[in-house]
Symmetry: D2
Subunit: 293 residues, 4 copies
């Protein structure tokens, strides 16, 4: 069975010790094997305490971050790129220090609505940055995932095919594709082809509903997606992601356009998500070996 994860923002918008305690204990209580911490504001993180709690609760961490417009490795401006690189280096270090082996999200771009297409120079900066960063990350035992996000969250890559091309261009072995059903629903041709095209380059998966609320309450054809995962024999993490105005991380929530209340009770949401993902995975035969068809 694939490790099932949950995004920390279901529980808290920051990573203060108090919030980290809530995040870790609640994730465990809801049945998850992995927590994805967003590093949009990592300052309050107490490394020793967090490591200890992760150990105590026997739960694995993964890390993600999107860059900012003033620290954007897809910028034309080398100074802006340098600030982006610094954020990535910090994130990889945190990942290593907290015992993680995966850092993903949008390390190739600002996370937000651009006002113009990417330039050739910006693209060049992305490739150079990923080449350098993925090498450093490899040395630290950290894999880098490129999350394919929708047009309103980046102008660099919006489809699996573009992510695979970018990975090819970078040419290091330490990059993988991270698919997210919420974004796929907007940008991909279906929920099958991107998965088959990625094959073993698929390293991480986000399960999000079309409106980012309760799984099963939106338009996404999860059955098709899980059938595709079963077809490639995907064994990596499957992480639930959801956002509601109930739990807010000031900057990030506005970046993500979280205007609506999609749920009130994180534990109810999370418990359901675990059950829903498990049922879909098993229905599709993901990780099942004795299905006669």
């Amino acid at each position: 069975m694939n490790p099932l994860g949950i995004h920390a923002l279901v529980w808290a918008g920051d990573v203060s010790p108090e919030s980290v305690k809530k995040i870790i204990s609640s994730s465990k209580q809801a049945g998850f094997d992995l927590i994805e911490f967003s590093l949009h504001d990592p300052k309050p993180l107490d490394f020793g305490y967090t490591r200890e709690l992760l150990k105590e609760y026997a739960i694995k961490p993964a890390f993600s971050r999107g860059l900012a417009f003033n620290a954007d490795v897809s910028s034309d401006d080398p100074a802006v790129v340098a600030r982006g690189v610094a954020l990535l280096t910090e994130a990889i270090n945190i990942t290593q220090q907290l015992g993680g082996d995966y850092f993903g999200g949008v390390p190739y771009s600002a996370l937000g609505k651009y006002s113009h297409p990417i330039t050739a120079q910006g693209r060049k900066h992305v490739v150079e940055t990923l080449r350098r960063i993925s090498g450093e990350a490899a040395d630290k035992g950290v894999k880098i995932g490129l999350e394919v996000v929708n047009r309103y969250e980046s102008n660099v890559i919006n489809t699996a095919r573009q992510a695979l091309e970018l990975i090819d261009e970078v040419g290091t072995g330490n990059l993988c594709v991270h698919l997210d059903t919420y974004h796929m629903n907007i940008e991909e041709v279906d929920f099958t082809r991107p998965v088959l095209e990625c094959g073993d380059k698929l390293g991480y998966v986000h399960i999000g509903e079309s409106h980012r609320g309760y799984l099963g309450s939106g338009t996404i054809n999860f059955t098709e997606f899980f059938h595709a995962l079963a077809q490639i024999g995907y064994t990596g993490p499957i992480t639930f992601e959801s956002f509601s105005s109930t739990v807010v991380a000031e900057g990030l929530s506005n970046d993500l356009a979280v205007w609506r209340n999609l749920w009130n009770n994180g534990m109810d949401l999370a418990t359901h998500a675990h059950a829903y993902i498990s049922a879909q995975a098993k229905g599709a035969g993901l990780g099942v070996t004795d299905r006669p068809y």
Copy 2:
């Protein structure tokens, strides 16, 4: 939350005391609230023992039967009709004796592949029979459900609309529609309109996958179906039905064209079905009152 049921044929092909024990205990173990017993061959039923076990395990019974070509209330031949009526009377009596309040399935037809369309005379017999039978059943506190089945299992009604028309024609208040996703997938325009058209005439639901195997491993758009149930606020039973060559009821399995092995382990199948149905229902907001959208 709606009562969740399971068809006894997941566990055993007959109703001998031994099988009844297995059926009841296994259904309970897999988490279900209700068992649907098929009365295709009720002779081995030990009424006292079954009643006792149902009480001991605190699980509710429902009953179903399809008629046979030589005991078919849609026949032109009054003698054949009379044999069908006798089977129905017997089934209603068993339902009452075992403490049930629901008898459904195909009480209006043989369960099988006809070799010709229904005649006007046959249709008249169906209406007369249901009028008489539903009155008797009402007196015994038993509701009669008309399961809408596909073209290969009856030539009398294949769509919800036809069932509603038949109920209108019969004109008694004791009939309800029983929708089954397996059959809907073949005969209906979608999984929404039939549910909305039934409204509070919908009295019973079968959840079956397109090939009658593991839920989520076939073509049925369960999300759409559960969204429709939520839209009408359906509160009745939802019963899982599945057939595999692993558990066989000689005649019935051949009538149902069960040629393939769709599963080996009934408990694994049933536990999954319970989780899958629960997750779909909750995802759709069925029985949920605090969903903000």
Copy 3:
């Protein structure tokens, strides 16, 4: 049969006489009954020439516009609101002058990614503006449509339910809901409930694919949407909308995050869209009276 329309941006990014000629003649050639002109920059419009061409080609116009952050009727700042009102007044006048009876889009908000949720004061301004504007429009025989757009294009309304609530609050009879499959795919629970909830308040429809490219090449369940339209007997316009980096309106294309090439040949795209929409509508039985089921 519903009037089938096409968004002018399939053909040209501006409304210079040259472009208007191309837009009108191409729309006609591709088989459409209606053209939706975007009034994002109406200055180059030659009213007399456009009216004449519309008459010559016997094709109907509709008009749409989204506001800007410095002319936004959902702002807290009355001066910003006033600039928004001026844009709306202008748009309604153009609609009337060009013989149209429908002005829609996002008259209630800037069209773009907000950086914060709407305020109570902003919402009050929206209601006041719509009340005033819809009254003026009614006098000019122009109906106002509120297009329900996704979270990245407005923070005021993102679902049909929110649009209906806003219409109720405004309380004039001259507002209708405009649903767009592209946005519904992101924000609604499915493609059925919003349509049924709107009922005869649904006044205009956009058909856009999930990625805004070729119909049928994305994730949207058009079958479900057209079934829902058939269920409410929708008789209004159905307008195809698509964006590609091939045809660009400088500001608008960046507002809409059009980074990818989704098509090269507008005529091929448009002809296909007309055939696709016609086939879906007929398949669903929209406007069909002799379907026996």
Copy 4:
């Protein structure tokens, strides 16, 4: 573009010269490139006249047949098998004589509801027959297609995987798989995996709606199926099949359980089907070379 075909039973239930004239001229008028003639009762066929008409209308023929219970190559009884072989030989001869190069359908079984699973001996007869028949057909330039049908129409093969296994077992190169969306909807895990598993073994395709009526009026996810066809670059025939009580072939219609009126006007149905299939194929990018994604 793939050749688009239509099943003759949309137009007429027999193959008398009069009916053949109607079938050929109507198919052409509705825009089709190919007609599939069912050989359930080939006696009335006038070979010379039919050949001439096919030439005059420049339309290609394909042929199909299902066997009968008394002429069934999956029977244990060699005499019954022999009668089945005779029917197949006849069908292949007719195919050749009428200038066809494809004979498909259910040459491996009776077309109908069996009352028991296939036996080992029956299966052996199927393999032997297909080995022999496909060799003879090859000599005559006729390819044999195995249509995968649902459980109520055969107990020999119900899934693409079973068809591929059978083809492997037979071991001649002259057999291909024929997939039919109507049957896939009942028996397959989805509309993608069977297509990908077949790959270039897929030789013929039937497009039928879930209830065999108007395309787009049922439950089938055609978008998914056409995406899968595009993924394998399928270039073979795509034939529309539909049955209604309006046009009846006595025996065949009852074998197929055609009880309902799904349409009245064959030309309206056929024209729509041609448009619907064309739109789906193009939407999915089937045969399209310049789609930028």
